[in-house]
């Protein structure tokens, strides 16, 4: 006994297109295989990452420099408050007003003259 439908099936069977299998396995690998980057792909990606890395390094450098040179808040306030005093102290110690070495040898009369001269 012949099978009508089997004969019909053989006669009307559809052949997959040439790229059918390749397209399927590509979909399969895309969905189920872990993506592994090839050496060449990595090599291609590297140059694109260089500017990003350079920008990050520059930012890190500026940030580090800023942190290193910035005084703690309390110390900054103290410097601002005593800025004038400190400037006078520098002048005083630099000997522009008086030599520190000479101070020990001044008697009261010398001090009077000295203070009178400097207002």
């Amino acid at each position: 006994m012949s099978d009508f439908f089997r004969t019909l099936g053989e006669k009307t069977e559809t052949t997959p297109s040439p790229g059918f299998d390749a397209a399927f396995w590509k979909k399969f690998e895309g969905e189920f295989k872990p993506k592994r980057e090839s050496f060449w792909a990595a090599l291609f990606t590297l140059p694109r990452l260089v500017p990003v890395g350079a920008a990050l390094a520059l930012f890190a450098g500026i940030f580090y420099y800023t942190v290193q040179t910035r005084l703690p808040t309390g110390e900054t306030a103290a410097v601002v408050a005593h800025a004038g005093t400190l400037e006078d102290l520098d002048l005083f110690l630099d000997g522009e007003l008086v030599s520190v070495a000479d101070v020990d040898t001044l008697d009261d009369a010398d001090w009077d003259v000295l203070l009178e001269e400097n207002g």
């Binding site: 019909l8 006669k11 399927f24």
Partner: protein
């Protein structure tokens, strides 16, 4: 993996048991077993979808999706079902989903009810009928298949491209065996009539 796997070699094991064993291996991520099932089913699944949907490009897309879905759901496969019934059901559901999205409603034809005098084996045919089908061109036959009602065409496709029994076709189509036999009998009559007319309308 892409090479044709020769995993259907044992003649002593029934095909469905062999396929179940392969599918259990697939469930454990055995890609060679999956490739073997793919090699076996790619052509009949595609042929079924082409005859069902009538568009090869769409059928190819869906056939690939059938196999992706088989692999995606590999862990849920149960040996309670034959692999063939399972994969044909997946293919059918995808085809019906596609048709629904296209708003093409499958209308069941009431005239295809069970009729008296249906032969016990509607697939059997005399030599004259076989010769007629063999002589018909592929294009003519496909045109005649396109003239069948959707349920007739679907039952015919499942019978032609799968190795499913009437019971399995009934399970796949969520129908009964007598109804499937009726559909096939009517489809065969319509096809022979169409081929005799040379694929032309009367």
């Amino acid at each position: 993996m892409r090479a044709k796997a020769k995993l259907f070699a044992s003649p002593s094991v029934p095909p469905y048991e062999e396929e179940q064993a392969l599918m259990l291996r697939v469930a454990k991520n055995d890609e060679k077993a999956f490739a073997a099932l793919y090699e076996r089913y790619r052509r009949p699944i595609l042929s079924y979808l082409v005859s069902f949907l009538r568009t090869k490009s769409v059928a190819e897309e869906l056939a690939q999706e059938v196999f992706l879905r088989v692999y995606r759901t590999r862990e849920s496969y149960s040996t309670e079902f034959r692999f063939s019934t399972w994969i044909w059901t997946i293919a059918r559901n995808l085809a019906i989903d596609h048709l629904r999205k296209k708003s093409e409603v499958l209308v069941d034809d009431d005239r295809q009810e069970i009729l008296d005098g249906i032969p016990s084996d509607p697939a059997a045919m005399p030599d004259a009928e076989r010769m007629l089908i063999e002589r018909a061109t592929k294009e003519g036959l496909e045109k005649c298949l396109g003239e069948l009602s959707p349920p007739q065409r679907e039952a015919t496709s499942l019978r032609s491209y799968s190795e499913l029994s009437y019971e399995e076709i009934a399970d796949t189509m969520r129908s009964s065996v007598p109804r499937i036999k009726s559909l096939l009998f009517r489809a065969k009559e319509a096809l022979l009539d169409c081929v005799k007319r040379g694929g032309h309308h009367e």
